[in-house]
Each structure stands twice: as C-alpha cells, then as structure tokens.
Amino acid sequence: MSVNDFVVRFANVNGTGSASANALFTKAVFRMGVPVTPKNIFPSNIQGLPTWYEVRVSEKGYLGRREGVDLIIAVNPQSMKKDYADVRAGGYFLYDSSKPLPPGYDRTDITHIGIPLMALCNAEFIDARQRQLFKNIVYIGALSALLDIEFAVLEGQIGEQFKGKEKLIEPNIKALNIGVDYCKENFDCPLDIRVERRDLLGDKILFGGNSACGLGAVYAGATVAAWYPITPSTSVVDAFAKYAAKFRVDAETGKNNYAIVQAEDELAAIGMVMGACWNGARSFTATSGPGVSLMNEFLGLGYFAEVPAVLIDVQRTGPSTGMPTRTQQSDILLAAYASHGDTKHPLLFPASPKECFEMTVDAFDLTERLQTPVIIMTDLDLGMNDHISDALVWDDKREYDRGKYLTSEELDRISTATLMSAVSKISLRTNGSAKDEMSVVMAELDGQANSDHAPSQPLEQFKGKYGRYLDVDDDGIPYRTIPGTHATHGAFVTRGSSRDEYAVYTEDGDAYRRNVDRLSRKWDTAKELVPQPEFFRGTPPYEGGVAAASADGVVLSACDGVIYFGTSSYAAEEALEFLAAEDIHLDAMRARGFPFGQAFRDFVDAHERIFVIEQNRDAQFRSLMMIELGTDSAKLISVLNYDGMPITADNIVRQIRTSFTK
C-alpha cells in the first residue's frame, strides 16, 4: 500500500487536448495538500507524435523526477509497447479497452485496468471533437475513483476553469462521472496506490518558471521586451505580455506603459535590448541556447561598452538544434564567456519559480548596478513545467537600484566643483571667505541630490570633468549618463572600440589595458553582488531546511561536499537524504550565482572531494570552477545527466555511491 508516494504517467498523442485534462489531475493532488511534481515530456511537433505527462506524488516532498512508473494511462497506441514495458513490477496499466489489447500484453507482474474510454464517450457524446476531448476527462474521473482523489476538488476546478462558459461545466462533470462510475462498478477502488488529504503545502503555489520570469520582469519595471520565438523560452515573453496587459495599461489613456517587439531574429532582439537599456529603460529578452549563440556579438559589445541587458536563457538540449523540447544545463560555458576577447558575464541560477521571479527582479538591479549584461540560467524543466513553490513575495518598500548614473543636476555639480576648486585656490590666497561660501553652496547642492542612486563618492572625484569610464569609486564601476540628460555635459559616444577614461577613441595600449583592468575590478565587485550560495550541513531536510552557514561559518563538518544548481537541486537534495540513510554524509552547497565569491571558494577549499552535479556531458560547471578558482581537477568528481530528461535522485545516488565503495 502506497499512500501519497507514486508516479503516474499519461501517454497521449500530441495536440489532442490532453494537457489541460492532465493538469487537472496535478492541481487536484496539490489541492489535497500533497506535494506533487508534473513533467511535460513532449516532442518537437505540433500534432500527432507521442507526448507524455509524468506526475510524481510525494508525501516527503521530493520534487525531482523519479525513475519507474507505478501507473500508466496508455491512450496512445503509437507508444503503447514502450509504455507497457516502463510500468514497474506491481504497478498498473490503464488502457482503452474499447478494442482488445493486441497479443504480447501479458505481463503477470502488473495489473491491467481496461476502461472502454472511446466506447463510453461515443455512447454519451455526439460531437466528434467532444468525444475526443472528453475521453481525457473520463480517464481523470477514473483516476479520481482509482486513486481516491476527492471528487469535490475536481468539481471545483472545473467550475473555475469554465467560469463564464458555464455551458461547458455540465458535460465536463458528466464525463468525470462516467469514469468514476465505470471504475466503481468494475474495480476495487481505491487501488494500492492512492492519495490521502494532508496539509503539507501551507501557502505554497503551483507555478511555472517561465511565467515567474515574465512576472518578475513586470515587477522589476521592465518596459521594453524584444524577442524571437524559440522553445522553451517563448512563454517567458507570453507571460510578460499577459501580466503587462493586466498591470501596465494606463486606465485613463488606454496606452501601454511597456513595449513588446517580436524581432526578426535573436541578433535584433538583443540589439533592441541594448538600445533600450543604453537609453535608460529596463529591457530584456528571453531565448535558448541557439539564440545565445546568435547573441554572442552583442553580449561582447555589452560587456566592453558597459551597456546593461537582461537575458533569460531557458536552456534546452544542445548542441546545435539538439533536442529542442528536452531539458539540459548545457549553456554554462557558452553564457559565461559569450563572445570574443576577454569577455565574461554574471550568471544567475534559479531553482524554483519563486527564484525565477526574484532573480529576474535582481537581474535588472544587477545589470544596471554593474553596467554589464546579466544572464538568468533557467531551463526547460523549470520554465515549462509547473512546480510547487513558496508563495511570491514583494516588499513595497523595495526601490529599483538603477546603479550609477548622473542626473542633469549632478552633471551641473561636477562643473560647479571645478568652479569651487578654482575659487578656493584663489580664496586661499586671500582671506578664505569665498571658499567658505562655496562650501555652503556645495553642501546645499549635496542636500538636494537625488538620493535613490546618489553617488557613493563626492562628485569632486571627477575633478570638474565628467569621464564616462573613470573609476572614481574604486569598484570598477563608472558613472553613466543617459541620452538627453544635459545640454552641455555628459554626452559621449558608446562604442565597442577601445577608448580612454573620457570615452575618446584610442588605440593606445596603456589606455586599453587600464580599461580592461578596470573591467576586472568590476568583475571582482560582481562576485559579492550576485546571489550567494546556500549551504547545508549534512543532509538538508526538505521542509524548513536551514542553511548551516553564514559568511563566516561556511566550513562544514563532513570531509566531502556536493555542489549543484538550478533544477538539479530537487534531485540532489533528495539524493543527499538517501545517501545519509546509507551513512554517507555530505555537505552541500547550492550555487546561485556566477562569478563565484569568497563563500563559494571557502566551501571548495574546505572539502577534500567535491561532487559537482550538473545536466550536461562535458561537466561545464566543473570546468568553470577550474578556470575561475583554479581548483585541482582531481578534487572535482562529476555527477552528470544528459539524456534530455530531468536528473533523478536514483541516478545521483548511483553515481556518488561508487566513490564510497571500499
């Protein structure tokens, strides 16, 4: 008997309306307070090819994918043979028994559940399309009886789904009942595997990563989105469009406080983002690996010309076109070093919809603070699937960090400073009163300064002349000006060619080196500004896992450590529990940002061996550590998964265990 701990897989034909029926199932389990995680396993196809929807129900709250299927709803003849083989011993095979099963479906270690889905629908519905659509609802009804899902919960969902189209409620409920009734009459309900109501989810939400990124961009104040369609990133901009239409249309004028342009290609999309950011708007694009390849040139320009840009990379399986509808974490090196020359970019690694939301907001602050493109590294698994996530939070007191830019008044003060310095030189030679007067004027001007982005150093550092690329604060980040700010001060030409501190074109080697060395200092500043890692001592419990480390307490107990990031986190944290049960105790660090800061380095230094879990063939994250931290390769043991499916805990356990067998 397995309560709240099983995997159900729906095997459907792409384009037959199964997605919304299947989502109904997930939401019902969610509403019964039980942790649930769905995965869309879909082909690069519009209609006709096999598609699967796999749902894991886990009382313990394991939200990664699990190997093995306990119950399959096999309604696609194309894939039935494989689906049949995939059922675990002791599991269930639910099929449409309108026609008898072909020979060979004779396993004795599983239970066959035949429901004449087509025949039942044909008897009850006349319209051909309804017959097809309601077949999906009938099997959801069947599952309600077989798995003990509260009928009232499903009924409630149907009511919400068809609010405004009430005519559709009745036939949907009827279809659900057909399934329920058939099962109650013909099988012992519920089965060995079933759902039992719990209260394990608190105020958690069920949300997709792409939607969360799109919503994050709205909250972050993004006004310009430029994009080119590519799976699996398209729904990021769809979500932005949806929420912008909801929240950003001026009630009085009906005008949009945002602009969305579908560009001619990814090159243009990122170009538009650069143009908008250069001109003082917050702007972003979303793409996947092939798009990042195309955007390399502009990303290099953004790095060198110091133009902000937010890029959301929803990674998919590469190389080249790869498997466009399967997941991977394989753009790590591409994104980190996109473009020619000494170029590198900050990366953020969200692991949940909540982090997709938060890191998207953070990315807009970071890109303006650092004046360099920032890339959010999500993936298909996180972006295109619903996930249980902590509720989204927004602090109304939070201000946007627009970074260092100079207002018209501040540009005036820079020239006033020249004046004052001239006056003070004269007054020192006389009686000093002129200097005193100017100090009062300067103090007043300081008081008037717009404080939300007030320069951290006095503007006198400019010594009377604005220099776009002067490092006046010694953090590598210069002050920018936005076009149109001031009639006579602050204009300059942004360019990808070398220039001096005053933005004047130069091919002088010293000036070039000073500039790229300053960019290095900026990179060092970025290390502590990007999201910092989370640390776990020993095994992280799922609920209320407490990060064991603070900035000074990173050195953990066990001698071996594990590093993971993004969607590998679900399976990794589950695997750590399994391993702990086998007395293999590991410290863990979930990386959240690149470049790596001191805390990250301390964790690496504090452990003898480190397992690096990632979803690509070439251990790209491990390479990044070796390049950026100089970590000894012998110390870093790869745990990899790259078949396009989300990594599982079983897989991680198998790979790590081999390092502990005597």
């Binding site: 939400i205 929420y243 005008k255 949009n256 406080n257 538009m272 989204l392 149109g484």
Partner: protein, 350 residues
C-alpha cells in the same frame, strides 16, 4: 584628415534661434581621408541641425561599423552616440527609440553595413516605420578593408585594382520604397544645396526617413570606370527637382515660377516646397516614384532629391500604442503592481 582645427571663430558668426553658432553643432575632428564624401555629409548634418534649431542633446546618433559609422563622432558632440556592431544599428535604434520617443534618432550607416550584413535589420526597421533618420553614406566599396566591392557597386563598375564587378547592385532607395518606407530621399555628397533641405525634411518627418547619399570614396573608388567616383556621379546625377524646407510657422519666402511648385505639409506643420523638374512624378505616389527611379536607372542616371514621402503613416509607437510619456521616464509606482496584486496572484495559483 587633418590634425589641427582652428579655434578661431568669427565674432559675427550668425546665431540660430537658440543662440548657438554653427560650431556648437560640430563633433570631434574627423579621421576620415581628406576629400572623403562622408565629411561633406557630416558638414551638411551640422548645418541642417543648426538651421533647424535642434537642441543637440535631444538627438541620439547611432551607427554600425565602417567608415560611415565612424561619422557620428564627427558631428554633434553634445549628443550621445552609439557606435554599435556591424549591420545592427537598426535594432539598437529600435530599442533606444522604444525607451524614449522624445529624442530625434539619427542613424548613420554605409553600403556594407546596410546592404550586406545589415540587410536583415534594415528591411525590418523599414517595415516597422521606426521614427528615425536612416542615412546611408554609399560609396560602393569597403574602405576600411581596402576597397573591396560592396553590394551596391554597379554591375560593370571597375575597382581601383581594375577588376570589374560581376553582380547586380542592390538599389537601397528602391528597396526602401518597396518595403513601405515613408520618406525616401537620394542625394550626392557633393550637392550640399540639395542635401541640407533634404536632411531637414527627413529629420522633421514622423516615421522612417531613408536617405541614400552617394558619397565617393576618394581612396579606393574614385578611379576611371567606377560608377561611384566623383566625376561619374557629377556627370550622371539627374535631379527630381529643387526643394526648400520651411519649418513650422516660418514664412515661405522662396519663389518659383508658377505651375511648378507643390507644397507638402509635414506632420509637425512644416512645409516642403518642391520645385519639380520631372514630369509624371508625384512624390506622394509610390508607383510614380519607382517608375521615375527605374527610368533614370535605364538611362544610367542617378535620380536625386526627395523621391517619395507619405506623411499619413503611423510610426512604431502609434502602432503598438505606447504611452506618450517616454518609457524610460515612468516611475516605479506606475510600473510595479505591488504586493497586494501579488497576493491575489498567489491565491490564483493555489
């Protein structure tokens, strides 16, 4: 190029309505070759902006890569400039314009930057009717890499090294009209009298204003047999007519002989007073513009002047209904939906 610029300014230099003398509109010293057509165009831009009483800081100058794309540094030093990447100026200009619709966007490109690597972005910026001036300094060759033919080199045109171009030229002005550009002008860097009013009209046009300016390359494409040398172009220019640009509320003072003059009212109330020399050509009719250009081409001539204008079109902002307030100037209070809205959203996700 020259290394020294005289700082002497005659005290009686005339001032425009804003109180600026023309040198206020200049840029840094040009590093282009002495006699480069581009420098004449830059001088025309300076003159046009001065005459139009434009606040330089309300102009954003954008370019791609190449000799022409260096130009923005050589005019309007009080304007922000963006010398971006090869062929991608249109996308940068699009993003910049979306961020702040209140500036004037002046894009400078070359024939390599537009007709080859940048063709994709060029055609799409035309389609979107982005409110900008897009100026191509067209010399039919790649100067910075020593004179290779570009895609606008005429078939049969001879290079300095003596090779003959085998491929059909891309006619950017015809293409722009075909794609729905709402202002198309063609000119010659040596014809300042035509270039300045044309540029003023382009800057006053609301929508995509395309200027294809033949700008001979003195170093690599000024030889006998080239169809883009100074001599050849001077001999083969056929003007559509002469024009005057009359800013809004200024008095029309030019006089032409009766019957030849037509006035076109711009979006901002300014007037283009056109003295037509071409029969059967109406600049507000696409077909006649294309016909006139094709006829000139057949005769081996380059038709210059204002070729086509449509003052009734919608620019990108109008089409996508963006707010009148520039997007880069909207405050957080308006942009961010806040915690209450997020609370409701959370509830809808349970």
């Amino acid at each position: 190029m020259t290394y020294i610029r005289s700082t002497f300014r005659h005290p009686a230099f005339p001032k425009n309505d804003l109180g600026y003398t023309v040198d206020y509109y200049e840029g840094s010293l040009s590093t282009l070759c002495a006699g480069c057509g581009h420098d004449s165009i830059n001088a025309a831009i300076v003159e046009a902006c001065w005459q139009l009483n434009i606040e330089p800081h309300k102009v954003a100058k954008l370019s791609g890569i190449g000799c022409s794309s260096k130009s923005p540094a050589y005019f309007l030093s009080n304007s922000h400039g963006f010398n971006s990447v090869h062929g991608r100026m249109p996308s940068v200009a699009t993003g910049a314009n979306l961020a702040n619709r209140d500036l004037i966007y002046f894009g400078v490109s070359g024939d390599g930057d537009t007709a080859s690597i940048g063709m994709g972005q060029f055609v799409h910026v035309v389609r979107r009717n982005l409110n900008m001036v897009y100026l191509v300094m067209n010399n039919g060759c790649y100067g910075l890499t020593k004179g290779q033919d570009s895609a606008t080199a005429d078939v049969g045109s001879k290079s300095k090294a003596g090779s003959v171009n085998l491929f059909e030229a891309i006619d950017l002005a015809s293409l722009a009209i075909e794609l729905g550009a709402t202002f198309v002008g063609q000119s010659f860097s040596g014809d300042k009298e035509q270039l300045i009013p044309l540029m003023k009209a382009a800057m006053s046009h609301k929508g995509f204003a395309f200027l294809n300016v033949i700008s001979p390359c003195v170093t690599f494409n000024n030889n006998a047999g080239s169809t883009k040398s100074y001599d050849y172009v001077r001999e083969h220019v056929e003007v559509t007519g002469t024009m005057d640009f009359v800013p809004y509320e200024k008095e029309i003072t030019t006089t032409y002989e009766a019957g030849d003059v037509s006035d076109i009212t711009m979006h901002d109330g300014s007037e283009i007073r056109l003295h037509k020399l071409q029969k059967d050509w109406d600049p507000q009719d696409r077909f006649s513009a294309i016909n006139a250009m094709q006829r000139a081409k057949q005769k081996g001539e380059i038709l210059t002047g204002l070729l086509y204008i449509n003052e009734d079109s919608s620019d990108l902002h109008s089409m996508i209904n963006t707010s009148e307030t520039p997007l880069n100037a909207i405050s957080k209070d308006i942009l961010c939906p806040g915690s209450d809205a997020l609370g409701k959203l959370n509830s809808s996700l349970r």
